[in-house]
């Protein structure tokens, strides 16, 4: 092993990662593209009673029952509507498949480590624990979400905890 510091090592690993950029209202978010399985339209979601409101229900993804989470509701966005642009990003998180509803998917971007700034401490809605950082690209700002941590967190109530 040579003398590389941990930070540099991590940076080298994260070098030029690709992100899928999606929009929630006017905000732009990004997630690691390797987590994304597919993108599909929002349709045929069966509601599940007695669950938090951001869990829209479950849908049939080629025979697999997949829960659908609306991040717009989770992040308390003002306008939540289901229109033609509304899509579901199907992600793979810790051997689980989860669909997340977003207002639209814009593009795939490659960010180099120096374009990713550490996330500042946030408020309650989106804890900075669930962020990998903020990406800056020209005058745009991308909120890079650590989708693994977010979807398996207690507050998402998606995963049954062993203690229960």
């Amino acid at each position: 092993m040579n003398q590389t510091t941990d930070a540099a090592l991590a940076a080298a690993e994260a070098q030029n990662s690709e992100f899928l950029v999606f929009s929630l209202g006017d905000e732009e978010y990004a997630i690691d593209i390797l987590k994304v399985q597919e993108i599909r339209g929002y349709e045929n979601v069966t509601r599940i009673a007695n669950t938090p409101d951001f869990i829209k229900g479950v849908t049939n993804l080629r025979g697999v029952i997949v829960p659908i989470v609306d991040l717009r509701i989770k992040f308390h966005l003002d306008k939540v509507e289901y229109a033609g642009q509304t899509v579901v990003i199907v992600v793979n998180v810790e051997d689980r498949i989860v669909g997340i509803v977003v207002d639209g998917v814009s593009d795939v971007m490659t960010l180099s480590p120096d374009q990713i700034k550490p996330a500042p401490e946030f408020g309650v809605t989106l804890s900075s624990d669930f962020l990998s950082g903020l990406g800056s690209l020209d005058d745009r700002m991308l909120v890079i979400v650590d989708i693994d941590k977010l979807l398996t967190s207690d507050e998402m109530a998606l995963v049954e905890k062993v203690a229960e």
Binding site: N50, T51, V58, N60, I65, P67, E160
Partner: protein, 731 residues
């Protein structure tokens, strides 16, 4: 390729062999042992020993070796079996199981236990064989411990995971010095093979090149066995075995003459056997030896490979028609077929909307497809089904031991062992069933004296039965004991602070025994009486989608009936509509449906409503309330009441419409999501949408919780927190 790749096969097979062995041991009539059974037990031990030797599981090999010797004497009639001996054998079998488990987990088996069991076996061997020989008189003295005084010594040191194949090979082989030629084997494999041969005997020299590599070895092992081992690594046609000095290849099916020779010289070379014991040996088991070779060659020629060698995997008789497949693969097929059925019904729906003569062929084709798809589904589902025998076969042991401990005389009868049940359910039913059986033995069946006093035969009868009924399997544990005592149960329930009354129906009283912490046993015994268990039994069975019923007649006995669905993968469902949402109710839970009339509905304290159905008041569960359906009918008399049964209780579920009955493929919600209250699983409907399968008791609980939450809210609305909004939406 590494020999460790075959560990799993060995473990599985050894496990089966042990199960087999146990069955035979239990069936064994100590006074007049059946020779075939003794042989079967011996063969099982022998095969395990062979495998253990090859894979280097020393402890296992040594234990089985001692065990095998003892068994050998038993089957040769040199050892008179006693009941306690059979017990020791059973103990040894358990021990072997433990050792196997240890190896499977990559650990070394418990050394202390190993030494203990070895001593026991050796002592038995010393005592009994000595006695046996005296009794037999005049027979040549045999080494007491007699490690090699076994007719099958040739095969003993080899391995071949399959018991029958190996036993065959043992007879079909030769012994002494021979040349094993490896044709076209690479250098790496050669090393491995020579090493393997080293385990089978003594390698004297090895030389040659890739085209022909000769290994001269001294071995007591038969050709067939060498071949069987080698064939793990190379093909049969890459192998040539001949005795030294002999020119031609010796095939596994040697002439009977060679066999006779073998019989008189059971290859004691390795174990440095004395001539006397060898003679004794030949004398003691001539029958076995001379009979079999004659039967061998035809068997060998049946085998698919032209060389006629016994393949390690080949089985004899009916067994040869089965293959081993991992459950994952089967499940995958079942899933795929489930998808096919869904796609098929989607197509069906589309086709049914088409009209006109031009579509005639399409419609015909669809109905054919439907039939084929259903057949396919049925066939695939049957792969997962295994006979109840798998479960029942372990009970003779349980009954024997428990009865022994309790000093009771019990006869076990099993019925319907061929009834098939889903494999996952079979595995999960074992524990609850064991508990119920123990319970029946302990509490149900009286001691012999008490039975005689009551005018019943001394020996109690415990019946285990299994049968199909509709889409369910019914498993019963029936005893002819004293039956449940209503007064005692009620008294005990009061004592433990349960809410009971004298007017409770018998059914309800019997169900009390499933209450947590409930036991009427006067004292806690080793077998039962701790009051834990019965509630667990009930929970386990409910977890499998089944329920337990008890029928009992004082003085005549108790029947505990377990009703289970045949499979967890497919469910007969009734689709219902509440508002615009579709749900599925398990058809097995639905008793009837009716339109409630105003005069049959009674309000009770607070929001509770009961429905009177034929003199019975059933709690009403409004599905739309429990599941927050907004667009459902709220006028009670406009809804349909579906009378359902869950955990032995009845409820009236209020729904908007009954849609129809259909088979649905059960999909787990927990795979990607989590458990949802009131919902047991999900399924995919013909139109591709997801419908939730309702859990009746969960639904009732949910509706009660909601009702409980509501008044509190009315009283203190200001205390409401944001977190409650999920419960709020309904009102």
């Amino acid at each position: 390729m590494d020999i460790t790749d075959f560990y799993d096969t060995f473990f599985e097979e050894a496990e089966e062999l042990l199960a087999d062995m146990e069955r035979h041991l239990l069936e064994l009539d100590v006074d007049a042992p059946d020779a075939e059974q003794l042989n079967a037990i011996f063969r099982a031990a022998h095969s395990i020993k062979g495998g253990a030797g090859t894979f280097g599981f020393d402890v296992l090999q040594k234990t089985t070796h001692l065990f095998e010797n003892l068994l050998d004497h038993a089957r040769n009639g040199e050892l008179t079996l006693r009941r306690d001996m059979v017990d020791t054998f059973l103990e040894t079998k358990d021990m072997l199981n433990d050792q196997l488990d240890a190896y499977r987990n990559g650990e070394e088996p418990d050394q202390e236990a190993f030494e203990r069991i070895c001593q026991t076996l050796q002592r038995l061997a010393l005592e009994e064989i000595g006695k046996g020989l005296e009794a037999a008189g005049g027979e040549a003295p045999t080494e007491p411990e007699a490690p090699a005084a076994e007719p099958k010594a040739p095969a003993a040191e080899t391995e071949a995971p399959e018991p029958v194949a190996e036993a065959d090979a043992g007879e079909a082989g030769g012994s002494g010095r021979r040349v094993v030629s490896l044709l076209g084997v690479g250098e790496k494999d050669r090393g491995l093979l020579v090493e393997e041969l080293g385990q089978l005997g003594e390698v004297i020299e090895h030389h040659g090149d890739e085209t022909r590599y000769e290994v001269v070895m001294e071995s007591t092992v038969s050709d067939g066995d060498i071949e069987a081992v080698m064939c793990f690594i190379i093909d049969a046609d890459q192998l040539e075995i001949r005795a030294e000095g002999e020119g031609s290849t010796v095939e596994a099916s040697k002439p009977a003459a060679a066999k006779a020779e073998e019989a008189t010289d059971p290859a004691g070379a390795k174990e440095a056997e004395t001539a006397t014991s060898a003679q004794a040996d030949a004398g003691s088991a001539p029958q076995d030896k001379t009979d079999k070779p004659a039967a061998e060659p035809p068997k060998a020629t049946e085998k698919p490979k032209p060389s006629g060698k016994p393949k390690p995997k080949a089985k004899s008789g009916g067994e040869s028609s089965s293959i081993r497949v991992s459950v994952d693969k089967v499940d995958q097929i079942i899933n795929l077929v489930g998808e096919l059925i869904i796609t098929q019904s989607m197509l069906d729906q589309t086709v049914s909307e088409l009209e006109g003569p031009a579509n005639g062929n399409l419609v015909n084709g669809m109905s054919l497809l439907q039939r084929n798809a259903r057949d396919l589904q049925e066939a695939v589902m049957s792969i997962r089904m295994i006979p109840m025998d798998f479960v029942f076969s372990r009970f003779p042991r349980v009954v024997r031991e428990t009865a022994g401990k309790l000093g009771k005389e019990i006869e076990l009868v099993t019925e319907g062992a061929a009834t098939e049940l889903d494999k996952s359910l079979t595995e999960r039913i074992i524990d609850p069933l064991t508990h119920l059986v123990r319970n029946s033995l302990d509490h149900g069946i009286e001691p012999p004296e008490a039975r005689e006093a009551a005018g019943k035969p001394r020996t109690g009868k415990l019946t285990l039965s299994a049968k199909h009924q509709g889409g369910n399997i019914i498993i019963e544990v029936i005893d002819d004991g004293a039956g449940l005592n209503r007064d005692k149960l009620l008294a005990k329930a009061r004592e433990s602070g349960l809410n009971v009354s004298d007017t409770m129906s018998d059914d309800e009283v019997w169900q009390l025994i499933f209450a947590p912490g409930f036991s009427t046993a006067k004292e806690v015994t080793d077998v039962s009486g701790r009051g834990v268990g019965m509630d667990v039994v009930k929970r386990n069975i409910q977890g499998m989608g089944g329920h337990v019923l008890i029928m009992s007649t004082p003085g005549e006995g108790t029947t505990i009936r377990i009703v289970l669905p045949l499979t967890l993968a497919i469910l007969d469902g009734m689709s219902i509509k509440v508002g615009s949402e579709m749900f599925i109710l398990p058809l097995s839970a639905v008793l009837e449906s009716l339109q409630p009339s105003r005069e049959d509905l009674y309000a009770m304290a607070g929001d509770d409503v009961v429905l009177k159905v034929r003199d019975e008041y059933l709690p009403v569960v409004a599905v739309h309330e429990a599941l927050d359906v907004s667009d459902a009918r709220t006028e009670l008399t406009e809804t349909i009441a579906v009378i359902v049964q869950g955990e032995g209780r009845r409820y009236a579920l209020l729904v908007d419409d009954l849609v129809g009955q259909q088979q649905v493929v059960v999909k787990n919600l927990e795979t990607n999501y989590r458990k949802v209250p009131g919902v047991s699983a999900a399924t995919i409907l013909g139109d591709g949408s997801v419908a939730l399968i309702l859990d009746i008791t969960g639904l009732h609980r949910l509706s009660r919780e909601k009702k409980a939450a509501r008044p509190a809210r009315r009283a203190a609305p200001s205390l409401e927190t944001v977190n409650d909004n999920e419960l709020e939406t309904s009102s």
